[in-house]
Subunit: 221 residues, 2 copies
């Protein structure tokens, strides 16, 4: 079992709940931060001090306030940490239950567990901690389809960028120009439309308006 754990969560009340839980599990060193940047610095320092954290439990979304932050979300934080310290286990503990987001976190960034905050959230968190300590990954029931589902729909960065530009209200011509300026390829109007048509099919959308509405609900943009 883990002996040194960091909890990154902006809301003080939730933070307290998780802290209590970890104490009950017999974990000796439990530290808490309310900002992603603090989490990164603490983890970095602990490594330099030869006493690294074994586990990070972090929320996904952090309210922004006056403090300027390098990492704006648990996603940014997890991505950066897994690149530098791949040995560090990371559990995401968030209310978010969008499958696509979970899929990215697991497949692309390599996080170890994803637990949805809910009525039984703390109990799920226990399961996750136990699984991760055995080098397993864990997904709480709400999102466990994220991996099982074979339809790894392969939404590329290009698709996301296209959807963003659409949602900002740019026409196909304008998006084509923007892509050319930013050296994003393919950039022709025709290719953009072709890619959009694929998205129509994938998301069962009737038109561009519908498409943007759907991917907004999915949390892709």
């Amino acid at each position: 079992m883990f002996t040194k754990v960091l909890v990154s969560e902006d809301m003080d009340d939730i933070n307290k709940g998780v802290y209590t839980l970890l104490s009950e599990l017999g974990i000796k060193e439990i530290h808490q931060v309310q900002y992603c940047d603090d989490a990164y610095l603490k983890i970095k320092k602990a490594v330099l001090d030869a006493a690294p954290y074994q586990l990070l439990i972090t929320d996904l979304y952090f309210k922004t306030d006056h403090r300027e932050q390098r990492f704006l979300s648990g996603e940014d934080l997890a991505k950066a940490l897994k690149e530098v310290y791949p040995a560090l286990k990371i559990i995401i503990y968030s209310v978010e239950d969008k499958i696509q987001k979970v899929r990215t976190l697991i497949n692309t960034y390599g996080i170890d567990a994803y637990v949805c905050k809910s009525r039984r959230g703390l109990k799920e968190l226990i399961k996750a901690i136990e699984a991760v300590s055995k080098n397993q990954t864990y997904l709480s029931p709400e999102v466990e389809t994220a991996l099982s589902k074979k339809t790894d729909l392969e939404i590329s960065d290009y698709d996301i960028e296209l959807l963003k530009q659409l949602s900002l209200g740019y026409s196909k011509d304008e998006i084509s120009e923007i892509f050319k300026k930013n050296s994003i390829t393919p950039s022709s109007v025709s290719s953009i439309e072709k890619r959009q048509n694929k998205l129509f099919i994938q998301f069962k959308a009737n038109n561009a308006i519908n498409l943007v509405a759907i991917v907004k609900d999915l949390g892709l943009i």
Copy 2:
């Protein structure tokens, strides 16, 4: 100060935090529920027993699970309660910080305070409780512009319905037909476009795609 308070919040960890806070404020009777329906029943019963609650603190969003619920959100609950028991004070305690939603809750349903969950959420909650006990309304800083802002943009039910149909991917012709079937007036394509143009201006949208993206972000649909 209040002596009998009900807390309605699905997440157990947060619920615990609020409970502790109320205890520290010296409130004697504090009860907790994790479902809106339970809140409604408890409040109703307390009235029948001639020992009514004076204050309800409720979250806005509740995760749905196997239990069938009459009230799906704190909004539904607050609306129903204010109709039947207008004397009951209601504080909404939610992460949601969409101005338009707060505005509706205050102006239409008559809730007494709105506190955004955040790093300082519990401290704001104290202020809200004190204000409400003096028959004042309270809004935490994140949303206090909801009332001061004169631009009560007057988004009508018609507008919301139109935006919904757009987001579902229907063409103007189809929406016109739908409106005619449902006796929603005006229903001509021309009028629908005219109304849409107003929305373009209000939300500074470039086209329908952009418009739907914006109102989705605002939480209007």
